[in-house]
């Protein structure tokens, strides 16, 4: 059985590293991107598809909201769950994220078990490492 693939998008290398580490330890395959534009480029080059996207909101070039809207407008990724991972915690941002099409919203700094639980709502880890 193939591994579930997750794309983690954040302009902070510290965050992408920690998210990747947590998810790989949880049994997922992870791709990373440094902003929305990088994510879209990588997604278009990936063979097959990504099962879930985790994205920050404040990013250069293409921000998280635009990334989500672009994915939701794309037939291939319309139904792919998107989790927002952001330090923004006001209602306006949460609502904007949801309206853009995000499935969940996690606040930074995050705990690894919280991230894995949230991801687990949409995907099942094939084999914990």
């Amino acid at each position: 059985m193939a591994e579930n693939i997750i794309m983690a998008v954040d302009d902070s290398p510290t965050v992408t590293k920690f998210v990747s580490f947590t998810l790989r330890a949880g049994g997922f395959k992870v791709y990373t991107a440094c902003d929305g534009m990088d994510a879209l480029e990588k997604l278009s080059n990936i063979e097959g598809s990504v099962d879930l996207v985790i994205t920050d909101l404040n990013m250069p070039n293409i921000d998280g909201y635009e990334l989500i809207r672009t994915l939701k407008a794309n037939e291939k990724y319309r139904d792919t769950p998107v989790i927002i991972l952001s330090s923004e915690e006001n209602e306006e941002d949460i609502e904007r994220g949801k309206q853009a099409g995000a499935s969940s919203y996690l606040i930074k700094p995050f705990k690894p078990d919280v991230l894995l639980t949230e991801v687990g709502k949409y995907l099942k880890a094939k084999q914990p490492v």
């Binding site: 902070s12 510290t14 404040n58 915690e89 949460i94 609502e95 606040i107 919280v114």
Partner: protein, 202 residues
């Protein structure tokens, strides 16, 4: 005599008119510079507080990591000691019916598990770098704004004819000005989950 007085009066009037015009021009300059000075002045305390927060949160995260590293080091010492005792027991042939061995294995296992958990806590604490870098980016953008306003003032007041603006090469990161490391996000996350479940899908 009266002609001289008239000349002097005329000269004084001319001087006074020029002085009034000068004061008028200065008033215009003051009006122009009042707002940027006020804005710059308002930004300084915010920037100072933000940088103080960075220092505090960096220190807090560092202390936390140092405490965890100390615990890991202590457990590692216990593991090394226990492994030494195991080796000695095995070499002396006292493995059979030795109840102490089982306890040594349990202790090693418990310490190794605790160390694994603690390394995860260290990684979690390292997220302070992302949060504080956003705070620093915000402080830098505030300082750049002040810099731009002050340079514009130099041009307005005539102190300089032209000034270069902030370094356009500097790579800035998108940031959340309210990013905070030093709070317990557990309660916030519950509120966020509740909120997001109540928002209708588009």
């Amino acid at each position: 005599m009266s002609i001289k007085n008239t000349e002097i009066t005329g000269q004084i009037r001319k001087e006074l008119e020029e002085l009034t015009a000068s004061i008028g021009k200065m008033m215009d300059v003051f009006r122009q510079i009042r707002q940027p000075i006020q804005e710059s002045s308002d930004k300084v305390p915010t920037t100072t507080k933000q940088l103080e927060r960075v220092t505090q949160q960096t220190e807090q995260a560092t202390q936390k990591m140092l405490d965890i590293v100390e615990s890991i080091t202590n457990r590692e010492s216990d593991i090394i000691k226990a492994v030494g005792q195991l080796k000695k027991t095995i070499q002396e042939g006292g493995v059979a019916n030795n109840s102490g061995i089982e306890k040594l294995f349990s202790d090693i296992q418990a310490n190794a598990d605790a160390n694994l958990n603690d390394t995860m806590v260290i990684m979690e604490a390292l997220q302070f770098q992302d949060i504080t870098s956003q705070q620093i980016e915000h402080a830098v953008s505030q300082l750049e704004d002040i810099d731009t306003k002050l340079k514009a003032l130099l041009v307005t007041t005539g102190a300089k004819k032209d000034v270069s603006l902030a370094d356009p090469v500097r790579k800035s990161r998108a940031f959340d000005p309210n990013a905070n490391y030093a709070v317990d996000h557990t309660t916030h996350q519950q509120d966020v989950d509740e909120l997001i479940s109540n928002i209708r899908k588009p």
